[in-house]
């Protein structure tokens, strides 16, 4: 079978990454199909980046089996890297060079002729809406623009698979939405996206399917909607009592909703009908400083699965 037609695009079985005695990835099984948008969701230190670096064929697999395009990173790293695009967690741009130079030089690493690099650069800068910055140095650009340059640069070899490690960490909301929009367009063009994030909204926006990782293990897998349905009732009632009183007051709420989580700053009550749960809270004479009913999100899934909040 030719490697072009092999499905899945990525397949990992009992994938392990150890640094000395520290286990970064503790035996995970993952399959990503061509054209899919797949996410690794988890807090810092969950093993997401280590997994990505193994898939990117820069960090050797400690144990287990990994195939990308049906090829083995241990022997075919070069060929695999030629067909993937990498958006690393920190932009690795040459700040003193222009946007255009950064793009062209990166293309040269793939042995793409200069002229062709320039042609693709024009096209890609248009795609990330930075054509007017082609001659600008990197240094004065905003964080969101630098990220877009990094994404454009990662596309210079027309990759079949794009790896994005926390693509929007540190960006303001507007810049994040611009990026999500561009990534969505890439997906529509048939590029397979694999990304890590610790933002629930990002995972919900971008991922067809995702795994939730915690401490090097996969704790759940599915589409965002499936995961929410499976692990969390439809609605969440968020109650805030006066500072420090959340723990003490939680007892007043026994028996309301399916489940309760007491966080330092708020109490979460999981219920099929959030408004009804709130009415019950009021009926019991409990008066929180604020109350909010919202839909369950992946954040709640994570809390349920790990007992910990994702937000640091």
């Amino acid at each position: 079978m030719s490697s072009d037609t092999v499905n899945p695009l990525i397949s990992a079985q009992h994938l392990v990454k150890r640094f000395g005695s520290f286990v970064a990835v503790g035996g995970i099984d993952v399959e990503v199909q061509r054209g899919e948008s797949f996410g690794f969701l988890g807090p810092n230190g969950a093993g997401k980046s280590s997994t990505m670096r193994m898939i990117g064929c820069v960090s050797p697999v400690t144990e287990g089996r990994l195939r990308i395009f049906g090829l083995d990173p241990a022997t075919d790293g070069k060929q695999i890297r030629a067909r993937i695009g990498v958006v690393p967690q920190a932009d690795q741009l040459d700040e003193q060079l222009t946007v255009e130079d950064n793009m062209v030089l990166y293309g040269r690493y793939f042995d793409i002729p200069r002229k062709e690099c320039r042609r693709r650069t024009n096209e890609l800068l248009e795609f990330v809406q930075l054509s007017d910055r082609a001659k600008s140095k990197i240094e004065p650009l905003s964080g969101g623009m630098k990220r877009r340059v990094t994404i454009a640069r990662s596309l210079i070899n027309e990759p079949e698979l794009l790896l994005l490690d926390e693509p929007t960490t540190g960006l303001d909301p507007q810049a994040r939405h611009v990026l999500w929009d561009r990534l969505y367009r890439l997906k529509q063009r048939g590029v397979t996206l694999v990304l890590t994030t610790h933002y629930m909204d990002e995972a919900e926006q971008l991922c067809d399917r995702l795994v939730v990782m915690d401490q090097g293990k996969i704790v759940a897998m599915g589409s965002p909607q499936d995961l929410i349905h499976q692990y969390s009732p439809r609605e969440v009632l968020e109650l805030r009592y006066s500072a420090g009183a959340n723990e003490a007051r939680a007892g007043e709420l026994d028996g309301i909703g399916h489940r309760r989580e007491v966080l330092p700053d708020r109490v979460l009550i999981y219920a099929d009908d959030g408004e009804a749960a709130l009415a019950e809270v009021h009926a019991r004479g409990s008066h929180p400083e604020s109350a909010l009913v919202r839909r369950s999100s992946l954040e709640d899934v994570f809390l349920r699965l790990t007992g910990r909040s994702l937000a640091d």
Partner: protein, 260 residues
């Protein structure tokens, strides 16, 4: 036709240099000029008045003695600095080596591109010094054409092993100490300013082991047409071995760093 991988990696370093080439080249020319006028002519006037100066300097004036050594010392200075902070930057600050390693370039090719760049940078610096030497009748000679590659070789004999070492560092804390305790003593005791026969007897063999001394001897011999085949071979093989071994180790330390 495809371009060798190390050359494609080199293109980035060279493009970055092109943004500063004017000021850098001006410096590469002015610095040796000032130095030679000050040390060569100024100090030279004093030294040449000494009774057996000419005999000690092997029939050369002090200017003639000092100036060619500058080819080697300049290469050493430029190369060691290139092999410290910019290497740290490639791994840690700008992370350009990581960017390269995410592409089909292998860690060895990343290291190869850098080595090629170091050779280029040393050559540029040495050509600057050679241009100054060509301005003075006392050092103007066709031997300068030979001295340029000798100077550049001296540079990579320093940059290659130091690059390998820098790639193992987590911080730049140790770099100033390298300058102070290794490069500075070599500069002072490597035979650039006076014949090492002037050193105390026990220091002389030590000086002969330092790479700088070999580079200085090569450059001085080339400029004044006094190179013997045997000693030239010894000097070149010594320096080339350092460069080669350093580069081979750098391939390993780069691979380790980039895979971590």
């Amino acid at each position: 036709m495809s371009t060798p991988a190390a050359v494609r990696a080199w293109e980035s370093h060279f493009t970055l240099y092109r943004t500063i080439w004017k000021s850098n080249m001006l410096g590469a020319f002015l610095q040796p000029l000032l130095y030679l006028v000050g040390m060569g002519l100024g100090v030279g006037a004093l030294v040449d008045r000494g009774n057996d100066a000419e005999q000690l300097l092997d029939g050369l004036t002090y200017f003639q003695f000092l100036a060619p050594g500058l080819l080697a010392t300049t290469a050493m200075m430029v190369s060691t600095n290139e092999a410290m902070w910019p290497v740290m930057g490639g791994f840690k600050w700008m992370r350009g080596f990581h960017a390269q390693a995410a592409t089909p370039l292998s860690p060895g090719e990343v290291a190869g591109g850098l080595a090629l760049w170091h050779a280029t940078k040393a050559s540029i610096a040495v050509v600057g010094v050679a241009a100054v030497l060509a301005m003075f009748g006392e050092t103007r000679s066709f031997g300068l054409l030979l001295a340029v590659p000798f100077g550049a070789l001296t540079g990579v004999a320093f940059s290659a092993p130091l690059t390998a070492w820098s790639a193992t560092r987590e911080t730049d804390n140790s770099f100033p100490a390298i300058n102070r305790f290794i490069i500075m003593p070599l500069f002072l005791f490597g035979g650039a300013f006076y014949p090492i026969s002037q050193l105390p007897d026990w220091m002389e063999p030590i000086a002969e082991l330092t790479p700088l001394w070999h580079g200085v001897e090569l450059c001085r011999g080339a400029v004044h047409g006094r190179l013997g085949l045997g000693s030239t071979l010894v000097h070149v093989v010594y320096l080339a071995s350092l460069a080669l071994i350093g580069w081979l180790i750098a391939r390993i330390t780069f691979a380790r760093k980039l895979a971590a």
